[in-house]
Symmetry: C2
Subunit: 260 residues, 2 copies
């Protein structure tokens, strides 16, 4: 029986609200055993870009990470947010260690190839991206790695990388050494059958049930890529994926996804 | 015979000049054995503060780190500069790991007490500040720690901390486990007898000779606090302190300070 490793991913919404962030971190402290936190960005970087008069570069509705944008997102994600989270966890006795993918070469990405759109300095991950040996060593030393959404290409270039992708790639890579629970935390209590009814949380969804719910149109829109990604992680060996409210991680309400 | 550990400190001048920074890092890669790099700030943070219209807070000629300033210096030091240095070293095969003092609780500071001046969010270090157990573990794992000049107070507060102080505190704390060589790198070739003559480098200074050179006024002004600090480190068990040009670390020209 492998040791359980819990990987939590939080998004920009909670990063932007310091009291919510502090509440979440206080709840995270109560989670026992080895754990990893992956945090997304938040609006701070965009606000800074606009204060500096740097126009967001958009192509076909997608934001492009040009060099000036990369500089600012690196400052926010790897500097401000990551160090704030680490310091707040240290204050509560969690031995947090902030990491970008470049630190310890822990996540090696490749710059997204230009097809129809040049996304700029954006990193894609693959099966070989994660330095599992070092991560396992850090976890065994009692450290709690805190990942920001910045990786590198191994050639000296930092890359902006989707935090959901980082979380699921870490989960898949570490599934060989741990029974991994991957927790996607957001502002809803779980996967809802009715988007307007917070009490309609589906407690448990298997891969088979997911296909049926998708076919019926019960699960649609924004949840589909998230859940496709989650079931792909389960297929790749991740033990459990949980979709839950970032403010209720220690409460029973949540959606647990499992293979069967 | 203890293993040799080399600690390098570079200042803001070289951080501000990317081609010089790359050159220094290329030379650092050639330094064998366990090593640590401590980097200072550079002008980026001040320029950003002025672009954002945040006035530098000065009291009696000393800069005050208020909350807005701390935010920006954390972004620059721990975010932009630290991650850039880490990524550039990774590209040359050095397994660099960027750290603030909060990461792994590796440097615990105390907020400078208010006497006549309130310096704001500035951290002071002491004999107990360094988590030597974790640092030794990281070094033994083949990692090269890269420190920025940000620490924390263990209560959730990040603190701006002098990079020279971080370097000498690390050196003193690790002197129990390693024969520590502490390298202060700057824009001169070493300690000069004539500030205007770059060829007047004193190759070696003992504690006794230093007192004489100070008394004669040969060493004066800005070098005195730097060298007082260096000789204090030697007295506390650091094996060697070297004062050298950041661009000539692999050349023989330098000043070696030693107890006797």
């Amino acid at each position: 029986m492998s040791k359980v490793l819990k990987i939590f991913k939080i998004g920009g919404g909670i990063i932007d609200d310091e009291s919510q962030l502090r509440y979440f971190l206080g709840e995270l402290v109560r989670i026992e055993g080895p754990k990893i936190l992956v945090h997304g960005g938040g609006k701070g970087a965009s606000q800074m870009l606009s204060r500096l008069g740097i126009e967001p570069q958009m192509v076909e509705g997608r934001r492009i990470t040009d060099a000036a944008t990369l500089d600012i997102v690196t400052m926010f994600y790897a500097g401000k947010t990551n160090k704030q989270v680490v310091a707040l966890l240290q204050a509560q006795g969690v031995n947090a260690l902030g990491l970008s993918g470049a630190d310890g070469n822990v996540i090696l990405a490749t710059k997204r190839p230009v097809r129809t759109i040049d996304y700029g300095f954006v990193g894609d991950l693959n099966e070989q991206s994660v330095n599992t040996a070092l991560l396992t060593q850090l976890l065994e030393a009692g450290l709690t790695p805190i990942f920001c959404a910045i990786t590198h290409d191994g050639q000296g270039q930092l890359l902006n990388t989707n935090a959901d992708t980082i979380a699921s790639t870490l989960a898949r890579a570490l599934a060989g050494s741990y029974a991994v629970e991957l927790h996607f935390c957001f502002e809803k209590d779980g996967v809802l059958t009715d988007i307007n009814d917070e009490s309609s949380v589906i407690p448990r969804i298997t891969a088979e049930q997911y296909q049926a719910l998708k076919a019926e149109g019960v699960i649609a829109a924004g949840m589909v890529p998230k859940l496709d990604n989650a079931f792909a992680a389960l297929e790749a060996g991740v033990a459990t994926v949980v979709i839950e409210n970032a403010l209720k991680i220690n409460e029973p309400v949540k959606t647990i996804l499992c293979q069967s």
